[in-house]
Subunit: 133 residues, 6 copies
């Protein structure tokens, strides 16, 4: 694949996984770092995410763990909570994954990530979550 | 103690230490991760904070250090600057603790934490601080 | 459950998930912080890990993401790569999860975690991994 | 130099490098931690930044790397993207430096820093950047 | 104070607080970054640590929190566990401070810091600790 | 370029920049995550590092800042201190860059990175450094 084809391939993966939320992040980079936008699409989604060695649901569990631990990634976490829902994780499973992360990166990071999840769940009419208490 | 008693015990500690600010964080979790709210109260405050091996004032000095170093914990830092005042640290001591942390985690983290402290001090009519210059 | 019963319950979970590697970490804490050892067993495994809302395989994907992102957790990552194998993740899936994390926390963290996985895979006779290229 | 002279010396460096953006951060600390403001000026700029062993342009490349990797430093990054422009880095070079950092600290940190750069570039009429795609 | 006097002043503070462990770190920097060694002594200890607004015992609680949260600071944590003992914190209080930090930065960071404390306590004949279970 | 050509292109860049140290890291991944090794070479070096928008010397200043701030990247920092020397940074400039980073990410991270630089400088007969005190 050439550069353009790699981008097109990645965009298809991004659209399936992240929907509009991912597209908005890429759009926001267009006038300041078009290459970063290209790499997010062509490399992160086209080359890496699309690999068949791990299904999307598993990838989102890893991603939720990484973004929660990093902290300060509210924009990206919003994209990836949406993505997690899109690839089949339930709100209860997402909340539980963030609760689980508290053991390893502490309560504040878990609370911050959970409040991002709350925002996304609210936007999609998924609150209150069930089966997590 | 059973699960409910552990929660009640933790809530008493939380109320003494954090007052309304802590309660608001727990409330914000109710519809998205009630178990995280439960663990903050029952485990973090009931099991851990209440241990007599270290008094609350000492715990808040450690907590200020951890939250400043982590970064991106403005919500939690606001709770814990309030808590620090509630358990007997003065505004001057809190500012100095954050200044001290600059040596170990750098100026930006210390500035960010200090601006959260400023917000809390302002809400409680404690600005300008005295005896810290 | 009382304190002792919570510990016993957590120890059963820890033994199923982490085997000897987890036990060694708890043992290493016995003379310096027995309460930290207790909390790892009773709270982290007994209260949190054992919750049915997320199966162990999913929990380990989140944990691998968190520990890779945190960095500097070689001891804990060694425990949790073992745990990941114990609960059904294949070496190929673990390597892919760590590769995936590179997108979100960068190449150095992913490399460091992968070298810990290599050590564990080597100890268990699982090198070279197959089906991951 | 005495304490006051060290401050004056640092203020001259800060004004050359950071302009108004740096001054605003120092001003914001005046009533909550005047000593932190003093140390930012007298130590960070007067003692450290002013050293001739590395020119300002090189220092800003290092600073951009550090602040991008830390995350959660939007306030400071805004100051230092301004500073980077002031000491001779072009918008294209700054964007590329942040893109480069993605390899080592991941896409989310690089995206966050790039969006801060976008804000600063926009304020200074430098969007869209040229020569970076 | 001139540069040399600031160094001498800082060295007196460092010797009181850190003893040999701090001196060894400074010595290790002599041939690669003498200025970093100078700044550790003259600025970190002479200008910052010596300020009377917070006593040494309080400073060490903050420092333990910061270093535990940062992770990957085993060398510095070894110095500062020694320092904590030197300024009056007991082994039990230090262990409890690290246990407390687990709430905010997670179990792995707390375990790692506790194992450094164990090493220092062992070197000083303070194991097993008492009154912490 | 196809997958193999991208790898070959990246390997040429890696050899120029990192020499043997980079090759050793890639080799160490061969049996556990050949795809991570491929991505380090083909993407990090071939696609990203080779871009002409920023020269190698500037890239290494950013990289030193990122790796110092991340912490726990001794393996990668060793590669990149070597790389920094290979692309024209002097030992004095590298030490100064790490000293500079102390302002933004604190003394412990700067000390740790400087001790890695010391190891590399020693291996290449460059100690003691000159012109940095």
């Amino acid at each position: 694949m050439n550069r353009h084809e790699r981008y097109e391939h990645g965009m298809k993966v991004l659209e399936q996984v992240d929907g509009e939320a991912g597209q908005r992040v890429v759009d926001s980079l267009a006038d300041v770092s078009p290459e970063l936008g290209h790499q997010v699409v062509a490399w992160a989604f086209g080359d890496m995410y699309a690999r068949p060695e791990l299904p999307p649901r598993d990838r989102q569990l890893v991603t939720l763990g990484v973004l929660t631990a990093l902290g300060g990634c509210e924009i990206e976490l919003e994209v990836h909570v949406n993505a997690a829902l899109n690839v089949g994780l339930t709100p209860s499973e997402i909340s539980e994954a963030l609760l689980h992360s508290a053991v390893y990166c502490g309560m504040p990071r878990a609370i911050n990530a959970t409040l991002v999840a709350k925002k996304v769940f609210g936007q999609r009419g998924l609150l209150p979550i069930t089966n997590a208490g």
